[in-house]
Every structure is written in C-alpha cells, then in structure tokens.
Symmetry: C2
Subunit: 163 residues, 2 copies
DNA sequence: GTTGAAAGTAATCCCTG
DNA sequence: CAGGGATTACTTTCAAC
C-alpha cells in the first residue's frame, strides 16, 4: 500500500474537489482515464479515501457562536474518561472533542445559537456527566484559517524524517 | 433565500455523502429528479453548498502528531493581529487558527511529523512573527469526536430562538 | 502503464401538465 | 412541483498493445 506521486496528486485534487470527473482528474494528474480510475478505486477500497462530503456555509443557515472549551475532570480513571466521551458523543452541539496532554484534559469545540444556548449545552453536559473539576470557555471571534494539509505535503514530511 | 425542509434534507444528505447521484438523492428527499436537481444547483449558486471534498485517512500516509496551541501576543493592535494571521496562513502545518476571547488570543491546531518537527514549526512561527508573549502546547492524545452539526439541526435551533 | 471501443448509468435540459 | 423524453456526458469494463 505504498503510494506514489500519482496517488498523492489524486488525493490532493480529490481533497479539494471531491466531485471532479474521472476524465478531468486523469488529465490533471497525467494518467489515462482507466489508470486513474483504477487508482481511485484502489484508494477507496484501501479506505485511504474515506468519504466524500459537501461543505455547507453555516452563515447561510443563521447566526451561531463557536466556543472552545477546556475541561478538567475530577477523576482520570479510564472508566470516567470513557463515560465523559460517551456523554459528549451524544451532544450534537459538541462538534469536536480532543483528549489532550497538558494543563487540562479535553478541549471541545461547541457550536450554539448564541451564548444562552451555549450555556444550555454546558448545563446539559454537566447534568449528564457531572464530575467536571473546571472548565473555561473561549469564544471564537474569528476563524482565521481552516485548511487541511495536502496529502503530498504530509508524505514529503515523512520522507524528510526517514532521510 | 429561505430554505425549506427539502433544502435542509438535501444539505444533510450531501454533507454526509457528497457523491450521491441526483437520482438517489431525489428518491431520498422525496422529490422528482428534476426538482431535486434544480434545488441542488440553486444551493450551489447561492454558495450555501460551498464545496465538495474527499476526506483522506491521515494514518494511511504515516504517523503524525496534532498539537493544540494557545497563544498570547505581546501587542493586540489590529496591525499586529493581522500580521500574526498572515504569518500563520503561510504555515501549512497550522491547519486551523481561531482568534478567541478569553485568557489567550489565538488557539491553533498544528499537525507535525513528530515533536521535533512540531518544535521546528513553532520556531518558524517565532522567527517569522516574533512578538509572542507566551504559548502553551497541548498534545492531542486522542480525537474522540469530529462531527459537523446537520443543517436541519442548526436551523431547528434557529427556529427555537425565534419562537 | 496506454489506447480505444462498447455498454451502462447519470446529468442536463426542455416541454407538458 | 411531477413526469417524460431527448441529448449529452461520465463511468465502468474490457480487450489489445
């Protein structure tokens, strides 16, 4: 499952345009249509291409606040971590949750209608989980960047380290 | 540009499967193919459907660390914020940057090959920008959730607030 | 890897109700 | 909005190089 530069170029292009036609993709990567098609299918079968999705403009749907939340739990027993993650997985407003090493345990990203709604979400979390020692809220004023790294760049980095 | 329940259902489905055929989408939302097709095109033209993309399995490309970084700048003048954001936009390893209100100014998400590489990225940031008062690193041990909210849920929330 | 052809499927547009 | 029908475009497979 070694990826060559054609594979990486395919991944880069599909990452940016998941609906490009095979014919156009083949042209852009410099392969014949059949060769390109076979590679895409292989990448899908290997689950390297995991899924295709549309990105929706949230602003078109209304006004929302995004809040980053650092969380410290009372207990760090494996069982309590699992329970916290379980509760979080059931809250649709929590769109991201990372277990981190550092001065706190989790960092969440919460999307809510407004600050009142945000407090309701956190109340729900406290109600359902309970054993939170402390949490701090950081309201996102402006998202200045959101851009996945290109596959080809990621692999370049790996090669550098192997060298 | 008012969205009805058909539009929301279309957005929800396309968010999860950006490559569904129009025929299948029409079936799932309960519209004729032509009606469904026209709505999708309208949503694209209105930029509510912003882009289609493929999600790639980063683990298939090698081993990486994700680090969340809180940053406090020395100065909060508009010009300095803009310069910081400019520098960040040029660092491919910084995959996300949020300007926040709270105990610090920015929260970054950095993807690097390993901790040595991470330090290199931060060195580059310090070199290029300089006026950082303090930053703290939080290594992501485990991403426990990453799931955008469905369009229909977002809109339900808005209606609740309007009521 | 390539090309080219063939068959199936989907997108796109138009027109009628 | 639905539905049919026509056209064009794309996908997918396959054989031969």
């Amino acid at each position: 499952m070694q990826l060559d530069s054609f594979d990486l170029k395919i991944l880069d292009i599909l990452q940016r345009d998941g609906r490009i036609t095979n014919a156009r993709l083949a042209l852009d990567v410099g392969l014949s249509e059949s060769a390109c098609f076979n590679r895409v299918r292989r990448l899908e079968q290997q689950k390297i291409l995991q899924r295709y999705g549309a990105q929706i403009d949230r602003k078109a749907l209304g006004s929302f606040v995004t809040v980053l939340v650092s969380v410290i739990l009372e207990s760090h027993k494996q069982h309590e971590l699992a329970r916290f993650e379980q509760v979080v997985s059931g809250l649709p407003e929590v769109v991201e949750c990372n277990y981190v090493a550092g001065q706190f345990d989790y960092l969440l990203k919460v999307v809510a209608r407004d600050m009142t709604d945000y407090m309701r979400v956190m109340d729900e979390l406290m109600e359902a989980f309970g054993k939170v020692n402390q949490y701090s809220s950081y309201i996102v004023m402006r998202k200045t960047k959101e851009q996945e790294m290109a596959a080809s760049y990621l692999v370049d980095k790996t090669r550098r380290s192997a060298a």
